[in-house]
Homo-oligomer: 328 residues x 2
């Protein structure tokens, strides 16, 4: 890992953790048990990859070199949603995991009832944080829409939707024991992992747009053409979405590979579970070598989407490269 | 029950159910199981009291006699939040209820994993619906803030909060088996039931304000002084909040009384559970007769808060009266 990425990751964790510390109720606040349970899982040593991607997308779009106001809070909201999904995934009725990042899972530490409610409360708090972002109301509503669509059952018409985070989880549960096809695995991965990573980047971009220096005579912040690239607003968001979708899928493929090749101690969670349960994973369909090639190819596509941003895209691209090069 | 209330309830159910039908993914939409589970619980015969209170608050504030655009959708979002809380409450790890409104609870019909995720998805969809309300972004953000604060662990500074819906649920769980004090019961009731009822009315009012006829020269919708009462915006919302808090507490007291005096068949759920579990209820502290007096007194306070609205408040007041007069 190069020094630049190491710095991004280290400062990103610090910024995210400080925002989470500000936004989560104190563990001494009543009712104690749920606030302790929320903090137990939120501060269990997560790498904060989603908030860091969110903050760097916001910084790139705002084009000032600085993090726009509210970027750390938005990242914290995304981390809360991620943590809620892990708490509920780990429950006995779902994946029944006792260990997460080397620590007891929420229901092991606090009991099932509190774990269910702590997950609920973290989803709730994520949305609550959006309402207080220092951004124009129209930006907050756009962020709310993309975020909610991404972490729900899916996006689209009531009769045909692309699964979101919860939808992906359901497809994953329902396909256990079924021989995984390439189509099924891609569908689960794009929904279960990809949707949250994509909205991290898209909502970061929406926040960045609200703090964009506009051309003279433009009607107001967020409405102008991006000075440095001449991308209009929808094009810019579409490019961030493409970047997020490709990087998100690559991330999950690498996760699948690591699950097969690493020990539990290296991963901080039970390794080999996916194989044991005949789960839908990329290497189960394509083998490890092809999976590695696919991850690299997806990252190349992700990079291409950011081409118009020029050197300002370097941090996001370095992070994406790290996602596929990591070893745990 | 008088004819006016009967009409309000009947037309309110029709409007709410139509909005829910439009907003929920079809049961034929993949992944099927979760969408079927969401619909199973949402369309299990709820009385739609919260959406009806929300719509009537919006109508009263908008002062045109008509429902403002989006009122039924906002009511549907509130009903989704209510349903999600019931699905999770009924789980084996929490209240372990098999029967709700005379039908099998979600986890009995679809299994625990899908019930947990269906609850998650309904909370998510409730927030998603807010993003598309036909109202100015500033109104949507104000609704988002009040709604999220009300249904979370609580409202206030990180070190001292008034419990919201989830917070009330936690206090309720933690106080099982403890001899209930008056203070504890009031705290649980105000949070677990009162907070959602209050936000139904407050957010309805916020939506109504966005569609308010403004005085000549006022800068835009939602910013003017209310023509018919001369209440300014914060006073108006404060009065709706007082109405909601009092009516919400009265509603829960009556629920406690009915649980002690009705059979399971009359209630459509297991009667007498509260007594059996030494739960914190109003009659357990004050006895049934005093509880009835307290409910009546709270409704009188709720009515007083609406005095400046004059005859336009009649529907909301009739509904509040119905909440304490009902027999199931």
């Amino acid at each position: 890992m190069n020094t630049e990425v190491q710095t991004l990751l280290t400062s990103g964790v610090t910024l995210t953790d400080a925002a989470l510390e500000r936004l989560l109720p104190a563990s001494t606040t009543e009712p104690h048990s749920i606030h302790r349970a929320m903090r137990h899982s939120v501060f269990a040593g997560g790498k904060r990859l989603r908030p860091i991607l969110c903050m760097e997308a916001a910084r790139m779009v705002a084009a000032t070199g600085q993090l726009p106001p509210g970027a750390a809070e938005l990242g914290a909201a995304i981390e809360m949603a991620h943590t809620y999904s892990l708490i509920h995934d780990d429950l006995p009725a779902l994946d029944n995991d006792d260990l997460r990042r080397g620590k007891p899972t929420c229901h092991v530490a606090y009991g099932e009832a509190i774990a269910i409610l702590a997950g609920d409360a973290l989803q709730n708090l994520a949305f609550q944080v959006l309402a207080d972002l220092p951004a124009p109301p129209a930006t907050i509503v756009a962020i709310l829409r993309d975020f909610a669509l991404s972490i729900g059952t899916g996006v689209g018409a009531p009769t045909a939707i692309t699964p979101g985070m919860i939808g992906g989880q359901v497809v994953d549960i329902e396909s256990e024991g079924i021989h995984p096809t390439a189509e099924l695995v891609e569908r689960i991965h794009r929904a279960k992992t990809g949707a949250l990573i994509t909205t991290s980047i898209v909502t970061g971009g929406l926040l960045g747009l609200a703090h964009l220096p506009t051309e003279p005579g433009a009607p107001g912040p967020g409405s102008g053409t991006r000075v440095s690239t001449n991308l209009n607003h929808p094009d810019l968001i579409a490019r961030l979405r493409t970047f997020g979708e490709n990087a998100g899928l690559a991330f999950q493929i690498v996760d699948d590979i690591l699950d097969m090749t690493q020990t539990s101690a290296e991963l901080g969670k039970t390794a080999g579970k996916d194989t044991a349960a005949i789960k839908a994973t990329w290497p189960a369909v394509y083998g490890i070598e092809q999976s590695q090639k696919d991850a690299a190819s997806l990252i190349a596509d992700a990079f291409a989407a950011l081409a118009p941003f020029g050197p300002a895209a370097t941090p996001l691209k370095s992070l994406a490269q790290y996602l596929v090069d990591r070893t745990h």
